[in-house]
Chain length 339, copies 4
Amino acid sequence: MIVAMMEKATEEEIQMVVARMVEIGFNVHRTTGARQTVLAGVGQPASFDVQDFQIMAGVADAHRITSPYKLAGRGFAPQGTQIKFTNGVTVGGKEVVVMAGPCSVESREQIFTAAKQVVAGGAKFLRGGAFKPRSSPYSFQGMGLDGLRLLREVGDATGLLIVSEVMEISQIELMLPYVDCLQVGARNMQNFNLLRELGQARKPVLLKRGIAATIEELLLSAEYILSGGNYDVMLCERGIRTFETYTRNTMDISAIPVLKHLTHLPVLGDPSHGTGRRDMVPAMARASVAAGCDGLLMEVHPNPDKAVSDGAQSLFPQQFEQLMKELRIIATAVDRTLS
Amino acid sequence: MIVAMMEKATEEEIQMVVARMVEIGFNVHRTTGARQTVLAGVGQPASFDVQDFQIMAGVADAHRITSPYKLAGRGFAPQGTQIKFTNGVTVGGKEVVVMAGPCSVESREQIFTAAKQVVAGGAKFLRGGAFKPRSSPYSFQGMGLDGLRLLREVGDATGLLIVSEVMEISQIELMLPYVDCLQVGARNMQNFNLLRELGQARKPVLLKRGIAATIEELLLSAEYILSGGNYDVMLCERGIRTFETYTRNTMDISAIPVLKHLTHLPVLGDPSHGTGRRDMVPAMARASVAAGCDGLLMEVHPNPDKAVSDGAQSLFPQQFEQLMKELRIIATAVDRTLS
Amino acid sequence: MIVAMMEKATEEEIQMVVARMVEIGFNVHRTTGARQTVLAGVGQPASFDVQDFQIMAGVADAHRITSPYKLAGRGFAPQGTQIKFTNGVTVGGKEVVVMAGPCSVESREQIFTAAKQVVAGGAKFLRGGAFKPRSSPYSFQGMGLDGLRLLREVGDATGLLIVSEVMEISQIELMLPYVDCLQVGARNMQNFNLLRELGQARKPVLLKRGIAATIEELLLSAEYILSGGNYDVMLCERGIRTFETYTRNTMDISAIPVLKHLTHLPVLGDPSHGTGRRDMVPAMARASVAAGCDGLLMEVHPNPDKAVSDGAQSLFPQQFEQLMKELRIIATAVDRTLS
Amino acid sequence: MIVAMMEKATEEEIQMVVARMVEIGFNVHRTTGARQTVLAGVGQPASFDVQDFQIMAGVADAHRITSPYKLAGRGFAPQGTQIKFTNGVTVGGKEVVVMAGPCSVESREQIFTAAKQVVAGGAKFLRGGAFKPRSSPYSFQGMGLDGLRLLREVGDATGLLIVSEVMEISQIELMLPYVDCLQVGARNMQNFNLLRELGQARKPVLLKRGIAATIEELLLSAEYILSGGNYDVMLCERGIRTFETYTRNTMDISAIPVLKHLTHLPVLGDPSHGTGRRDMVPAMARASVAAGCDGLLMEVHPNPDKAVSDGAQSLFPQQFEQLMKELRIIATAVDRTLS
């Protein structure tokens, strides 16, 4: 941590800051300039709040100089993490991996049709919600266990890996037999108890960025899972909340190269939630691949107009197929493959 | 719902929109202008997604015309909800009620000292966390059940009501014997399973606004609790995330009068989380009361410099006492009292 | 405009709204539902403020149903506007056009070297500032007229078209002989007097989106220029301000497909200002082309480490050359060319 | 400036950073920790861009430690600036000064009626626009010089000081004889040429915060005016753009105490633009005074329903009178007066 004192700070104020830095475990190096004193805290206190220093008397500003995450940082695994799945699919390698399917599992027929369509297009994972977080208490809330069973069945039948959202601790045990990857939704990105439990799970986790989460906060949330011993974590950009309302969220495409720079974990893009509008999904899927993502998560529905949830952002199967062709070309421009 | 068609929409496109509106339960009134057709959907379909219509061919725009919450709307209880507590304190009446105390329960001595200080200043509730959501896995996570026991003990000793945060469903049962009010933190505002369970609880709930939640989303989250049969819900503005970083969050003071206009539920302000800086808390506490809040939630610690969490935003006891004097004057300007 | 009345609105309140709608020039169609009355205003009043209605007694909500821009709307030129320049270059056609060069003109040698480098890479325009808007009064403010002369000279020598920023009305006349395209910076997007004057100019205008401007506001600003009779306007996404601070701005890539949907004007992306970091520029340039932009505006400097302004976001010439190769591949995926 | 190197930074990378810091004028103090090297730059280079360092090889992070503004900083005039006007009114003293009036000057009768009403309520300044920045080219654009003449006339007749918006350099000379204070609107907060010219003016300037401007940027814009020799600058918070759309902007009340902490310049609040809704203006005016502002800028119109601009946010004269009574009580709570 660096603490810059005000130009008019008294020696007493400086000493109080030094004392507090030492107290929490820093070695302090002092630079006394003609106009201003700067204190550099070196070392790694277990945990501290930089704001405690920002409000001390005589302090002009205080900054962290080490990132508060360790295991998630690029330096921990400079070559990048590759997550290998049972059927040979790897996320974080040279291949851009596509996960596609409906927002919710609605029926046996719907999910089998969807699976056939996405596998034909080239997807490696089937996505589909069994438990649905809905902002209105009067909306459809998911098929639950029956949905999970259908997902497993169709996964086994088609060879698709299954990814589905876990909404609370009690669902983890329940879901593990049925899914290949547990997804944490944007609203749960800072549900720390859930993250801690997932650190104990022995299945990969797909962690979505919260709509108001900074990139640093996303990495701190990943750190919760990693610090529990589960190293198979994928991150996913899915749109942040801004003042622009034409799209449901503003997909922060730049988070993709930034995350690739800051962390060794694989990074996905979700253009369906990132835009909320089917007509904008292909452009943003292409942009994600062009920006260097390791995979995509997209909503595709056999009949979007009849979808019980998120129909407006679900692609028609033909759109998905056309999009996959475009993505294959773009992948070559960034030295990647897409099957 | 209103759907405005594009000027060049074809009759076929118009008919497809009409058909879909009818299908989900609307009666449709059509206005054909010289340049543009407008379709008004009248009635109350159980649940629908306005974005499904925004992306239909020929549609220029689609808007809801009824708010998606019903029980939380002002019209449901135009005179305003008053929540009466066992010791005679009422939130939502003429009195502005102050809830104060440390971020976390740290020890018997700390919480008893804090309680004595806040009751002396005029607080009616003691706040204090037993379970703490922390963005870093390496930070203090709360005293748990021991903290709850201390809270109950000090509440009984001082006559202060107890409010403390519930972080997940499994804690509800555990907390009920110890607290007078269950607080839902900003990060859980859209933890819908938790909200649903709280709808079954027979204790009042203090629901904080998420840092990226719109006012409408806050009211929809309240609706989850109300629709379960628990009508004793208080809302709390505690800062939203914006581009400004000088303060930890930007406290949206205007949300106070807006909420008073839109809902019958009591509205509190939390200037501690709203600013993150002790030196800004008094100004924002005063602003909250001046803007018409029904109560305040504030962090006060016997020794903020030694606080295990949120010390930077905790008031010194003397600051709290001085602030309460100022608030009493402001309360009279808005025809309220503050004891 | 649509006005939805509250469920409890009185007939008198409804009549007051109707009267005001008629007064400003609407024909009013009334839909009386079992629970709620809806008023549809049909026609085109010259100008009105929807908020005047939102605050009337008994009104639940009021929405515009026609966009407030006319000439900028897609419907005005459904096939898309193509801007043809003297040397045969067209913006808005099949070719993705690249504009590149240093932030500021610094010297004869610098701008000639830069021009040679960007023309070698495949750029069609040279960008370079002669007048610089700087947030600090103590920063370099540009070479002014001398810079313009150098731009014209190097443009004539290399065949590159010249684009440079105009900061105020008095500079328009001065700049016209030297540039092929006048750029309006993000901070001037709502300098309406300047826009109006540019509507009288007979040179194309490149209008950048303000950092807090909605897409609708960008189109309204374009409308100012178009309504003056200058139809050669290009729009440019260059990053908006959000809570994320890792990048200087958050480049809203989705604005590219949204603008292509809403307007006939060509749409550019500026990944240099969009990210503020050289290491993120290539990813965002690729993403822009993948998302369907008609051109790119990028900062390239012969020696970024010595640049007097914006060095951190300027590409090295070799980076630019490599990037152009990648962009050529991506262009084919979206059925475009890039020379 | 402080530069924190990555843990794995090489000595060569460290030396390159040191060399560049020295080159731009810093003395460099190096702290070599067990894990990480930190470089503190001491001194005051004329101007530099911290991002140039953030992207250098081996750099983890770089921060400024001195604020880039000097004259606007609290330290420059710790006792606070008081701006004295000809008629004895002082802004920045103990009295909270109210500026009120219509958005636009519309007619002789309208402005004389408005002036009588606001003076009766206790206002000391009359506000009113002669030149209007309008986001649509089809809206009313102001009365121009005729409006200025009416303002002067009514000011002389009532003893009210006149404040009106200047939109571009060419208007400064024109306005000076007619107004007592030149207002710079939010859209021009970073019109640096205009600010520089106002630094030469010999009349006070009221500078409004841009809707996407940080507090630091507002102070840098003030610095432009101050550095030209005009020290009579007032700042005004008038709402920032956030994701919340219920109010037109989100009024950042906390900017008031933050600015009082950071600068010696007087700070005003504008609850009319801050909310955009008449029904929220009184609450936010009260909140501004409770938060410690030195003055208020408010729209009051004799007949808001007939206002040519901003009617929805203009108070009725009776509302203004009632509000002023409430504000007088609140002023006493913060040891201020309000006449």
